[in-house]
Amino acid sequence: MSALLRTEGVCKAFGGVQALDGCSVEVEQGSIAGLIGPNGSGKTTLFNMITGYGRVDSGDVFLGDRKITNLPPDKVFGYGIGRTFQLTRVFSRLTVMENMIVGAHHSERSQARGLRRLRNALARAGGPATRRRAMELLEFTGIAGHAGALAETLSYGQRKLLELSYVLMADPEIVLLDEPAGGVNPTLIGTIADRIRELNAGGTTFLIVEHNMDFVMGLCDRVTVLDYGNAVVAGPPEVIRTDHRVLDAYLGTAEDGDDR
């Protein structure tokens, strides 16, 4: 097993706040990795630095052997890193199906070259193959019944599922999930965990930020703990659960639920 996604000494400061301070994290190919840590420990910032939503001050990000430090979000997505956001971000005035088709642009575009590209751009959005694939994924995540509805009519949990679904449209190698279980009802949390397991069995790697400990410990092969912008410890869930540094990091600052 080798590291599919790797950060090396990533630093990022917002004004006087050092959000990431030499953060090094590794995610192995084919694994489900967890990223935990108290509020403000830099989890989401690390996601942003990996996926191009902001520039690192120093350090590097690698996808396999490829250096992807400071690449823009569209490039990062093109190389096979998909992500969801802590507060879901769907295209609210597009239908669920249209949301899915936006996610397929990259793969549809890369098939055309030159003038065909122009024709490709003016073609009707979403060919039959794309729509078929979209329906499969929507059925997989259980929101296929809403395909024709505007995304703004979905519930919060359904939006989370939609976000996961359209990220999957491009068949990413690795998916970064920012609090997939936050603010979602327990039944749906179970569904989400099952879907992640199935996708993982199909070869997709995951990196998951989550405050719900049962969710993380039950799902992840390996958990990394962030504190003050640094990875303090990494290991299998059963080791992390009892590690005193983790308890130190969380003691007095840990909160149930989500940080927003």
């Binding site: 823009p72 569209d74 295209f91 609210s92 597009l94 239908t95 073609a123 729509r131």
Partner: protein, 382 residues
């Protein structure tokens, strides 16, 4: 939630509203009804100068068609992406001056001057590239301010440069046409431009490119994270919109016969185009067409009837305020929604289930059933 649902109902009902009377009891798809409505509208527009032959009326017709083209072009960028441009007069003026300067320098006279129209589009399109590269770096209010700033820079440049004739402007080549028929060629050219850009707008809205534009409108950063190359996409729409607006400006210039800096680069143009699009329905297909068709003749009529031009500007400004305050979603979506609600109420009454509590709760409930026919297809909402 209810606002969202009802908005969807509006979309579904919009085409129905436009062509509902024509379709009658026939069950036609939304697209078919839209197509029929467009064909009828086009036919009426073609017949217009044959029926109303007075030059006073056809002149209003020319102005209206120019504004339909300009408003649809504006909406193609601003309406689809949500980037509100108050600087489209830059393209309008550029097109006008480009044709003026070219005709002067190349000694082009008579009706050959119309061959210069594509050149006006080209010039405006070329200008749109640096303009867009600067302005599209910022969003929302900042973008609006940048477009206004660029607009004033262009206006100042036009009034101070030698090549643009300074404050005297540039005259258009003389056309030795009789007053009775002078307006008609302009009318049909403007109509062709308007129909062309409306068709383009329809093609784009259903296309991959159009979907990317609307994704940018909803959440640009998210779109970028899904592989949409947002800058390119925005810029492409900006340039297309600029090209058409430039050609509108050129046609206007040839029609009026002269361009002065304050009329070529006219802040009222920016305001009017935005007002017409908002009035009709921002970001929709039919909205800008109907907005311009309703407001431009209204404005012209006002100017004719009220000799004091300040009075008409005052009315114009007040209307803008009222539309933004009370009708910011536009006539077309609101009317479509009302029609959908009315249909749903009638259907329920037909099924023998009177609406509980009468009319009061109706606005919240009807959009659900009303949008059912469109929901299962999962096709592009328009």
């Amino acid at each position: 939630m209810s606002a969202g649902a009802s908005r969807n109902g509006g979309r579904a009902g919009r085409a129905a509203e436009a062509s509902g009377l024509l379709a009658g009891g026939l069950r036609l798809s939304r697209q078919q009804r839209g197509g029929i409505a467009a064909a009828v509208l086009l036919l009426l527009a073609v017949l217009f100068p044959l029926v109303f032959t007075s030059p006073v009326t056809t002149q209003i017709g020319v102005d209206t068609m120019l504004f339909v083209a300009a408003t649809v072009a504006w909406n193609l960028f601003s309406g689809f992406t949500g980037y509100i441009s108050l600087g489209h007069a830059v393209f309008f003026g550029t097109g006008a001056y480009m044709v003026g300067i070219a005709a002067q320098d190349w000694h082009i006279a008579g009706d050959r001057e119309f061959a210069l129209l594509p050149l006006a589009g080209l010039a405006a399109g070329l200008l749109a590239v640096p303009f867009g590269l600067i302005a599209l770096r910022v969003r929302r209010h900042t973008f609006v301010v940048v477009t206004i700033a660029v607009f004033f820079i262009c206006q100042l440049t036009a009034s101070n440069l030698g090549i643009t004739g300074g404050s005297v402007g540039i005259p258009a080549p003389f056309l030795a046409w009789t007053p009775e028929t002078y307006n008609n060629p302009f009318y049909y050219l403007a109509l062709a431009l308007a129909a062309g850009v409306a068709l383009l707008s329809w093609l784009i809205r259903g296309s991959r490119f159009g979907l990317q534009l609307r994704a940018i409108r909803d959440d640009e950063d998210r779109a970028r994270g899904l592989g949409v190359r947002t800058m390119r996409v925005k810029l492409a729409a900006f340039v297309i919109s600029g090209v058409v607006t430039g050609m509108v400006g050129a046609l206007w210039f040839l029609f009026i016969g002269q361009v002065l800096p304050q009329y070529g680069f006219d802040p009222l143009f920016d305001l009017s185009v935005a007002l017409m699009a908002f009035f009709g329905g921002f970001g929709t297909l039919w909205g800008p067409v109907l907005g311009a068709l309703l407001l431009e003749p209204g404005e012209q009529y006002l100017t004719l009837r009220v000799s004091n031009s300040y009075a008409s500007e005052l009315v114009w400004g007040t209307l803008f305020l009222l539309v933004i305050l009370f009708l910011s979603r536009g006539v077309v979506p609101v009317a479509g929604e009302k029609a959908a609600a009315w249909r749903a109420r009638r259907e329920r009454r037909g099924a023998g289930q009177p609406a509980p509590g009468g009319a009061a709760p109706a606005p919240a409930a009807p959009p659900g059933p009303a949008r059912q026919p469109s929901a299962p297809t999962g096709r592009t909402a328009r």
